[in-house]
């Protein structure tokens, strides 16, 4: 227990925490992200209304404006949609889907990118050339285009009911496959630097298997920059998911994400029910902005040159 306390104290005393405390924007961003994580993560339990239980819905509650307007109702803080669902609750549940897809896509992209980057940087030669040319090709297309392509192929190849069941995984794979290049390139560059360092040479002198050297020696030393990319990557993944869902090729309508909400709400924008699209959009902007701010801070804090 005292060891844990000592660890905690040294963490609170670290330079990283110091720079965090002294950057108000970062603290605000962190709090925002935390609110989102808690709100989205606990949504099924803490959301004011269970919006996807059809029996609880009342169509007479449809199209209610936010609570502070004249015809608003106090129990629907941000108003309701065309089905009478509480917008705040749909945002919380939507953010949950968005964040889950985002985290999964980042995990997928990072795993793929780190592995390929490590191999590419460590082995070099033809293997490196092959991986990096593929990466170049991927990089020359916009991520959304690649994701659309992958989703389109999946739709064409898979039977319809199977596709709608696994469409969320297809989406994750699509976003992951369109963003791994960043990880791979960064890890490759850092690996090449680390590989020439003498501690790696010492491991080679002992005769360790290259895979072991990559895993035990190189990998822990290339993860710093990956953390930064992963943070900003989360923002990009959430945004990509929203874009795809907005275009209607993303998550199935049974599990609406922020993007789906914005798309659906968009249909009612011109008939005056602005809250249905503005609030989910605002939530998306604030979430992405906060995650980005966190990533920026992390990049500066981990970069010894800027300190």
């Amino acid at each position: 227990m005292t060891a844990l306390a000592a660890k905690l104290r040294s963490a609170l005393d670290s330079d990283l925490f110091f720079s965090f405390r002294h950057s108000p924007a970062t603290v605000a961003a962190a709090v925002t992200v935390l609110v989102f994580l808690l709100g989205a993560g606990l949504a099924p339990w803490i959301a004011p209304h269970n919006t996807y239980e059809v029996v609880t819905l009342n169509l007479s509650d449809a199209f209610l404006p936010p609570a502070w307007t004249e015809s608003g109702k106090a129990s629907f803080l941000l108003g309701t949609d065309d089905q009478g669902r509480d917008v705040l609750s749909t945002i919380m549940l939507g953010a949950r889907v968005s964040l889950m897809v985002g985290f999964a896509a980042v995990l997928f992209a990072a795993t793929l990118g780190i592995t390929l980057g490590l191999v590419s940087g460590y082995v070099g030669g033809l293997v490196d050339a092959a991986i990096m040319r593929v990466a170049d090709v991927m990089l020359s297309f916009p991520a959304v285009l690649i994701a659309l392509l992958i989703d389109g192929i999946a739709r064409g190849v898979l039977p319809r009911d199977l596709h709608s069941r696994i469409s969320i995984y297809v989406l994750i794979a699509a976003i992951g496959l369109s963003t791994w290049v960043q990880y791979a390139r960064t890890v490759r560059a850092t690996t090449m630097v680390e590989k020439s360092k003498e501690y790696v040479m010492a491991a080679r002198v002992i005769g360790l298997h290259p895979a072991l050297i990559m895993l035990r020696h190189v990998l822990p030393n290339v993860l710093g920059p990956v953390l930064v990319i992963a943070t900003i990557g989360l923002a990009i993944a959430v945004l990509t998911e929203a874009t795809l869902s907005f275009l209607g090729v993303g998550v199935p309508p049974t599990q609406p994400s922020l993007g789906t909400l914005i798309r659906v709400g968009n249909n009612f924008l011109y008939s005056g029910e602005w809250w249905m699209t503005i609030f989910p959009a605002l939530a998306l902007v604030v979430l992405v902005l906060s995650v980005n701010l966190l990533g920026d801070w992390l990049r500066d804090a981990l970069n010894p040159k800027l300190r």
């Binding site: 003498e198 501690y199 010492a202 002198v205 002992i206 005769g207 298997h209 020696h217 030393n221």
Partner: protein
């Protein structure tokens, strides 16, 4: 040959070329030629058990490449490396190499890069033990690493710290402890003190000498610092542009340098005793090793060079006038022809 009198390491005709050409596409588009860097270009020597054999030379002369070839980080382009009678190139698999690898370890130049910053010191030192499965059981490994830490002048408690908590000299001690962990006979030391301050260098050199005596170690010592080489070596090879210019017992080399390049190098040693000795800084710089001069590589800078030196590459030959068995090998036409003035330097300068 008897086990004891057989040299521990024998190197013959060792060559290592590096391809330093531009990438294929650039070569095709811009018509650039293929470029080969002859980092090591035909080197022969033997290292006896229990001695310190040094290779000295300026940057780019190939001395570090020789060290890495011997330790197996590079494969030779040509030539033979024998360790205790076994031809190193005869092994193809990692498993077959393991018993030999255990017997030779390396100490590196940069104490800030040679230890994995994310590992605890104890794990760093234990890595060879675990890799070669020398000791079973965690408690036994801890006991052994404690012993190693003490052996290099650190405390067992230091094992639980991370490398960044140590000074350069202490890190070099950790590096030595790791090298000793597999109980090797042969240590390859690549500029082990050139990144250290002089007072720390003295600590490390003293430690290395003590360990050599206690553990009967054989050292291959790579350095550019002639005074350090004089202090620690039994035999010295002077390298220039990938070849050995002169190889001799330490006292012979420093008291009676034959090769003009050796003489020039000795002239660069600062006169700390303040004797007012006249130094002749030689003009010129080491040529580009990608495009070395013909004949003897040193001829453009050599005050004694003639036509033969520009055309014919000199081979190392025993010098005249040394006691048999401890003769210097000199690769110089001028020395062979006896047209160079003798250069005898008294060694008791202090």
């Amino acid at each position: 040959m008897a086990e004891a009198s057989r040299p521990l390491v024998r190197v013959q005709g060792l060559k290592r070329y590096f391809d330093v050409s531009a990438p294929l596409l650039n070569r095709l588009l811009e018509g650039q030629p293929r470029l080969t860097l002859r980092a090591v270009d035909g080197v022969d020597f033997t290292i006896n058990r229990g001695e310190t054999f040094s290779i000295v030379g300026e940057s780019g002369c190939g001395k570090s490449t020789v060290a890495r070839l011997i330790v197996g980080l590079y494969r030779p382009t040509a030539g033979v490396i024998e360790f205790d009678g076994a031809d190193m190139s005869g092994f193809r698999s990692r498993k077959e190499m393991a018993p030999l690898r255990r017997r030779q370890q390396m100490i590196f130049q940069d104490p800030y890069a040679s230890l994995n910053p994310r590992w605890r010191v104890r794990d760093i030192i234990a890595e060879p033990i675990r890799a070669f499965r020398l000791i079973d059981g965690n408690a036994a490994i801890v006991a052994r690493t404690d012993e190693l830490l003490r052996q290099v002048g650190l405390a067992p408690a230091d094992g639980d710290k991370y490398p960044h908590e140590f000074s350069g000299g202490q890190r070099q001690r950790i590096s030595i402890a790791r090298a000793l962990a597999s109980q090797p006979e042969f240590l390859i030391c690549d500029e082990p003190t050139s990144a250290l301050d002089v007072s720390v260098q003295a600590q490390i050199l003293n430690l290395m000498k003590d360990l050599q005596r206690e553990l009967k170690l054989t050292y291959l010592f790579i350095s550019h610092n002639l005074a350090v080489v004089y202090h620690i070596s039994d035999h010295v090879a002077v390298m220039y542009l990938g070849r050995i210019a002169e190889l001799a017992p330490t006292r012979v080399l420093f008291s009676r340098p034959r090769h003009p390049y050796t003489r020039m190098l000795l002239d660069t040693i600062p006169d700390l005793a303040m004797t007012g000795r006249q130094r002749n800084p030689v003009a010129g710089e080491v040529p580009n090793p990608i495009n070395p001069p013909t004949g003897c590589g040193f001829h453009p800078r050599c005050p004694f060079a003639n036509e033969r030196c520009k055309i014919e590459r000199p081979e190392p030959l025993p010098a005249r006038g040394d006691a048999p068995g401890s003769a210097a090998l000199v690769a110089c036409h001028g020395v062979e022809e006896g047209r160079l003035p003798d250069d005898v330097r008294p060694l008791n300068a202090a």
